[in-house]
Symmetry: C2
Subunit: 511 residues, 2 copies
């Protein structure tokens, strides 16, 4: 009890309270353990008749005949609908999209498609449904059109499936990282600096911080009173903060929103996206970081292929392949999708090649790349396609000049053709190219300071990051995985704008 | 393979690739399943001698005697340190904070405090440590001072413990919501509107969007080219977007960062904080929403009290109580902390009282509140303290005028003293007051439109939200829980700035 509370409390209070001991207990209604409502997915697996079944859902389609009506009912728990048999008059007010609560009996089906169906006794419409003016119609609509109605498109069964995929992958990761003694953390979104010392950032400002009475006047920079005293930005990576937390508990990870104010217009980039990042201490060998990436992705795909979601994803791909889509994304067919999963859980470890070897292979294959030139997306795709043979491919030891200041240089043995390399890797997969980037971090205070000075980052907002090396520094490394890209890769969805419920990119922020 | 890739691909490529089948397999080094490093927590529980043990950690203290030295070693996995016995010369270069790798034998201890200790054979210092200039000294330092060094303070064992608590609670929630068929989702951070139709928001802007060559000129609003075409903000709540996703999969939840640009300076508010929000469809009874809140928190505390974390939290509270802290937060003693947990998992359900009953009880206790006046924090604290008797208290059916536009009005029976009420609740706990807020949502299109019009929200950025009621609307409800506040409540930490690793509030955004 706070000081303020003590001050007013009447002397007789304790006494009176004893008399009204738990006055409201009797009125409570907790039903615990909770009874969760029956999902359609569960009922579809029930091959046993049942007299009294109640099920909730949205009508996907209505088919009315003279003496009988059929509706397909969905609730997002399964890509398949439940078939309910109604009297035509019960279906009179139902249309595509209507939310209903049905009661009836679960009985062997007369028809062929499903083994059981609901013989409906009661139909209770739950709310309004103006099916005709619904921008989401039960027919083929282009991906580009659907992106204009992100508040409605999750209702398409294949999109609801992507929501469930995201949820299941998060659950797999949470379990796996816990088993590996990684501590899940929440790193800040509002930060003082961008991680790479480059990259376009979004700036944060607040009207609450402007105390001037002349709010409508144009202001120059000097006049602005910053909410946080100085300019702040939405984060481009959790890495630097994660490194601070790793020095407290050794191994940390986060799944956190990150931002780039880039005018990209591709199937692989968003302005707001989830990044999975992890850091581990007491690590001097880049292989240990790659082991975590590979182990993590194997665990996710093992869980996926062991679940019914995998079969649903394959059926969704099959259905999607039949539709004509003018979208420019690379369509993934069913066979490719299974190959992707098999490649990830392959009995053979994933290839780990050097940047230098990658350049050699590319040139042997007909490219003509200088060592220093760097890998473009098309090169990364080629590497993944041809050197991985179905498996993701790690490419490591890039020239230092291509990489950010915080990466650990390789010892002199890593110097190739007169160029310094850093202990880093990119993980490349077919079609999507880069999925993960990681490195050992420069943990020596003097060397880090020099690297920061070269980039003009010393003596500023990143002094705290240099501090981490001054007090109890330790060799460490980590990585960042584009989480939405991973979902694209696992689901075969070709455009990242379609695996994120409310995607944001240049000029586009619907809802 | 993309069109661009096909174009350049040499004809002989397929043939050649078959020859170099999996050329890099032999060079790979995946150690799978992963060998995770031994944590100190694990070793401390090992009451069995072992010849060859390797352990990593940071030196918490060094005690040197003539013929022997003792170090206390921590790695964040346990609040207790491991004791290692060294020769004095092995400890010569060690000081508070040094990262080391030790090898030795695990043997029964000679001393009294621990049953086993490490007889150290090898000491390998891992990196630089300037212990004397370290802003984080191994002595009492005020909470306010520690907030100025958020990049270092997680290394304090009690703070590392809070990182592990957060991680464990996230894991409990992920498991529990999964069992309850709730789908975990990622809602957007950048949004077009604030949720409540009030509240201070942070505005997002980007230099990348300003194409004008005269960047240094003052700009008025009309000249600014917005990155997303119109002004955008960091979200104040995921609720509205969650409602859209609930209509796809019925039950959804998210644990997501939210933002308030408020100039609050309290122990309970931050400008950036994590909110756990959930929505469920086909629900017409507010009790169903409260059941989820209560069930969820019971699951979290059951997991907590079954884990070693609970004992560590109690010990941390005990140690903290011994320190003199000038901070203004309400200290929670050990007994109170256990009572809090017991209150949550109480055999009796939590009280569910109406707003009207709450006002009556307050006035009986000596307050003098008008029905319309609303509950201030001190009233909420009183209710939690006196009516819950250790348990959290739900207060429901507040006057509509005090609440946001989207809440469902109670039927005429809910009208009290001439005032309309809404089907909502706040969950109140001692000291912290409001922890959760929830309601049924207005799902009728006409009524929602009227409510939006009253608040001046119709015809604008929230039209998409109204759309949700036009097509397949359904009774639904949900809640939002202040996740960082929950961690305060579970840990007994009095100030929210100390359970968040990098807290942001008015004027403060370190690192």
């Amino acid at each position: 009890m706070s000081q303020a509370m003590r001050a007013w409390r009447p002397a007789s209070c304790a006494l009176r309270l004893r008399k009204v001991s738990r006055p409201y207990s009797a009125a409570t209604t907790l039903r615990y353990p909770l009874q969760k409502p029956k999902a359609i997915a569960e009922l579809l697996h029930k091959n046993e008749a049942s007299d009294d079944v109640q099920i909730d859902g949205w009508v996907r389609s209505v088919r009315k005949q003279k003496r009988v009506a059929f509706i397909a009912l969905g609730d997002g728990s399964a890509i398949d609908p439940l078939q309910a048999v109604l009297k035509p008059e019960q279906a009179a007010e139902l249309s595509h999209g209507t939310a209903v609560r049905l009661r009836g009996s679960w009985e062997p089906s007369q028809g062929g498609k499903q083994s059981f169906e609901l013989q409906t006794k009661e139909v209770a419409i739950q709310g309004a449904n103006d099916a005709e003016s619904n921008p989401l119609q039960p027919k083929f609509q282009t991906a580009e059109y659907l992106r204009t109605i992100p508040h409605l498109r999750p209702r398409i069964p294949a999109n609801a499936l992507l929501l469930r995929l995201r949820s299941q992958v998060i659950a797999s990761l949470t379990r796996w990282f816990g088993e590996q003694d990684f501590v899940q953390t929440h790193t800040p979104i509002i930060t003082s600096s961008d991680c790479e010392g480059a990259g376009e950032v979004f700036t944060i400002s607040s009207n609450a911080s402007k105390d001037s009475p002349q709010k409508s006047e144009p202001e120059d920079q000097a006049q602005v009173e910053h909410f946080f005293r100085s300019p702040k930005y939405t984060t481009v990576s959790s890495q630097l903060h994660l490194e601070a937390l790793a020095q407290a508990v050794n191994r940390v990870w986060t799944l956190s929103p990150t931002f780039r104010a880039e005018k990209s217009d591709t199937a692989r980039h968003l302005s707001e996206f989830y990044m999975l990042e992890a850091e581990q201490c007491f690590v001097s060998d880049l292989n240990a970081v790659m082991d975590v990436v590979e182990g993590m992705m194997r665990a996710v795909v093992n869980d996926l292929t062991a679940s019914k979601l995998s079969q649903e994803l394959l059926r969704a791909r099959e259905a999607s392949a039949k539709e004509t889509d003018t979208d420019d994304h690379v369509a993934t067919n069913v066979a490719n999708l299974e190959e992707r999963w098999q490649g990830i859980v392959s009995a053979d470890a994933w290839p780990r090649i050097t940047y230098s070897e990658a350049i050699n292979e590319l040139n042997k294959a007909g490219f003509s790349l200088a060592y220093e030139s760097g890998l473009e997306t098309e090169h990364e795709r080629w590497i993944a396609q041809h050197l991985g043979q179905g498996r993701p491919v790690f490419v490591r030891n890039y020239p230092a000049i291509q990489k950010p200041f915080y990466m650990l240089p390789n010892a002199s043995g890593g110097r190739i053709r007169g160029t310094d390399t850093v202990a880093c890797f990119d993980l490349l997969v077919p079609d999507l190219a880069e999925l993960v980037g990681g490195s050992l971090r420069e943990h020596r205070p003097r060397e880090l300071l020099e690297a920061m000075q070269k980039k003009g980052l010393a003596g500023g907002n990143l002094d705290w990051y240099h501090d981490l090396r001054k007090y109890g520094s330790v060799p460490h490394g980590g990585f960042g995985l584009g989480f939405d890209r991973l979902l694209c890769y696992l689901s075969g969805v070709g455009n990242i704008r379609d695996v994120v419920a409310f995607p944001r990119w240049y000029g586009r922020c619907e809802c």
